[in-house]
Subunit: 458 residues, 2 copies
């Protein structure tokens, strides 16, 4: 509603009214509206924002809108916004801009911030360093609570979080954390090092950002300090950034598990060409795998010619194997992603999967035998030359193949993600598509094997 209101007001050029509405709106919602404005209106409306809100709104804009906006603003305006941004937002923005925009932006950035941005750009994009911010409050270990509040009051304005303060010793090493809650509950004269928590959970700049998400979830943190190799505090990661990482990592895993190259942008903002590119490589690889399965079938052409009814069971074997493997690998991949499963759990997993596979195999096997005995019970359709075959033999061959397929699928579904993790590969690629392809081939070999055993004349 507010969005349409604003669009109406833009039509009427009632800028005073727009300014008033923007004043009361949340920066996130304003950014939403901005992303839907015509390019021509963008700069005009952006200039209606209060100065201290402008950078905040800017940090929430999507990268396309940011790019358009920067091209419309003056050098002085850009300078103001960039210098007002939190460092992590500034770095995030600059990473996504084309070279000419970056040059212009950096030219209009204070020297100090430019140096910091350049330093941050060097952190690996999957590392803790890349998502941390330097706007945190640090306290000396030997001051009093009252002095700490003075420091917080003085610095609060441009810090991302003030609720967890980091305590450093004289050599700038991180020695403790203290929360504003603890400060409020302590006496004014208490020394910081007497009330601080010394058992600090921290990360290294080089740590994988996926692991950070797990720390936030496990310990219920609001912020996590990031230290360098000498335990000196260099930044913090706040929970809002951790939350984004957790969501992005889940999305990335889900995409990889569906044989997609993870996209950089939301679906609706990704071009058709990019979408096709993200899919076609895996499609080709998997198609090659399926062609190999086709070759196995070709090797058994004679059997198929002799008894075409046998082909009718192939989709069931292939699909059931694929689904069974997908179920297992999905549980293992997700379990490892959220930290519930470690590669050292492998023996427990195999033993579990084997028993699960046996239970499911027996249930589905009995079902298949019944089905064949009821609907495919015409022995005249099982004659090969002079050889007679009973429907029960066929049922047995199909059911045993099915059971073996399920066991293989579930064992592979349990094994491959763990093997990938052990080899430092992303377990998420060992998901349904790959496992389906492998199990397809194996199940056909098993199927024709059992047929040769149970069906005479093949």
């Amino acid at each position: 509603m507010t969005k349409n209101e604003i669009l109406d007001l833009i039509e009427k050029r009632d800028y005073l009214q727009i300014k008033q509405i923007l004043f009361n709106m949340n920066s996130v919602d304003i950014a939403d509206v901005f992303s839907q404005l015509e390019k021509a209106d963008l700069a005009v409306i952006f200039r209606l924002l209060q100065k201290d809100k402008a950078a905040d709104v800017f940090s929430y804009l999507d990268h396309d809108t940011q790019k358009h906006l920067v091209n419309l603003l003056t050098d002085k305006e850009i300078s103001q916004i960039i210098n007002d941004l939190f460092l992590d937002d500034a770095v995030d923005f600059i990473e996504e801009m084309p070279a000419n925009v970056v040059t212009r932006v950096l030219r209009n950035t204070s020297e100090k911030m430019r140096a910091q941005i350049n330093q941050f750009l060097q952190y690996d994009k999957d590392s803790a360093g890349s998502i941390m911010t330097i706007e945190f409050i640090d306290l000396k270990h030997d001051i009093k609570v009252e002095q700490a509040f003075d420091v917080i009051r003085k610095k609060a304005f441009d810090k991302e979080t003030i609720y967890t303060c980091y305590v450093k010793d004289d050599t700038r090493k991180l020695v403790g954390v203290v929360t504003v809650r603890e400060l409020l509950l302590a006496s004014k004269d208490a020394l910081i090092n007497s009330i601080m928590e010394t058992n600090v959970i921290s990360a290294r700049t080089t740590d994988d950002k996926e692991a950070l998400g797990q720390l936030f979830t496990k310990y219920g943190l609001l912020a996590l300090p990031v230290v360098d190799s000498e335990n000196r505090l260099v930044g913090i990661v706040t929970i809002d950034d951790a939350l984004t990482v957790i969501e992005e990592e889940a999305t990335e895993d889900i995409e990889k598990m569906a044989a997609l190259t993870p996209a950089e942008k939301p679906y609706l903002k990704t071009s058709v060409f990019q979408l096709a590119l993200n899919r076609v490589v895996w499609m080709l690889i998997l198609m090659l795998g399926a062609m190999f399965t086709g070759l196995i079938i070709e090797r058994f052409e004679a059997s198929i010619s002799a008894l075409p009814i046998l082909v009718g069971f192939i989709p069931m074997l292939m699909d059931t194997g694929g689904n069974g493997g997908a179920q297992s690998s999905t549980l293992i991949i997700r379990g490892m992603a959220v930290g519930e499963i470690k590669p050292s759990d492998a023996p427990k997993i195999f033993w579990k999967e084997l028993r699960v596979a046996l239970i499911i195999g027996v249930i589905l096997g009995v079902f298949v035998i019944s089905r064949i005995m009821i609907f495919n019970n015409d022995p005249s359709r099982l004659v090969i030359g002079d050889a007679q075959n009973s429907p029960f033999n066929l049922a047995l061959a199909v059911a045993l193949s099915l059971m073996c397929t399920i066991i293989m699928a579930k064992m592979l579904g349990g094994f491959l993600p763990i093997a990938a993790k052990t080899l430092k590969l992303d377990p998420a690629i060992m998901a349904a598509p790959i496992i389906t392809t492998i199990v397809d081939a194996l199940s056909l070999l098993v199927y024709f094997g059992f047929l040769n055993l149970f069906i005479t004349g093949l």
Copy 2:
């Protein structure tokens, strides 16, 4: 390491040393150690915890350990723990306990807390009400900043978060929020209603908890107020609970997308029987679907007998269709889960998917034609009775079937999750397994259709 240390000390019965270690350990880590203790040691070690830490550690224990522990503790000890728990943790614990434990626990709970627990148990388990807590700080709208700090200091000890305070008017309606940061930056004499934010983002008790996660991500909240139908503040959801919900919802979606009934417990804690149960229903349903696909093949038995080489292309068609559909449906399901895609985007999605499918279809089609012309180019293998067939005709039939399959798969992958959402079903069930099953059947119909068109003598 600490874990083994403690186990060693238990062996040596050095309880003083254990007490000292526990004193310095994080509650989450203590809970980790506890879950690995022998039942016999559990109560002894638990009693070494400081009183105010006991409830905190208890809230982090897994439900099995909680159950064992409660059975070992005295009524008085239970009473102390439960009354010290935050309400949401108490409710969460009680929901998971067997009836006899619940009776005993409630008997040892203060009357007030028992009433609150009973009220909370009535909220739907997927609603905001079920994950909210009532331990928040509320302020009257007409007090001064200094008085607000007095209130916070007095109440801080047993509130889950103190950093966001909720402002109520005289009729207990929620009228604003104010953060401790704002209070610290304001003058001591300022009135709360002059500095509070009146544009409050809130949820209803009946809102779906999945939607709450999206609010936290979108607005970077630390806590979200929950109001009843008359906008009276009844609770808050804190970010640590929101984080858990976000992870659980992602896990649930991932599991549903792999044809699994979502599990209540982590994989390693789920029994083999339960794991089998969570999988077998979908396996059966999908097997029925695949049997239907088998019936289609049976209908074309004559064609297969005539030219068995045709069967060799079936795995490629089925797998490629399945993978193509999985890619599309995954992107749409995940896009809807994180709020990037709405059902109203359907036309854009179909148009996008159609073009992506065409690009991929052409690339894979050309690949398949080349492959057949190089490796299956022996016309003598394509003779049916008197009818001669060129390898190119076969290649064309296969490639066209493949392209149609990809287009159908991607359109269905785009359509079915949106249809599910529109029908208020969970889109996550319209994922790879179902789409694969449907596309399998369709692709075979298309394949035999094209074969009849391009291959003479069938």
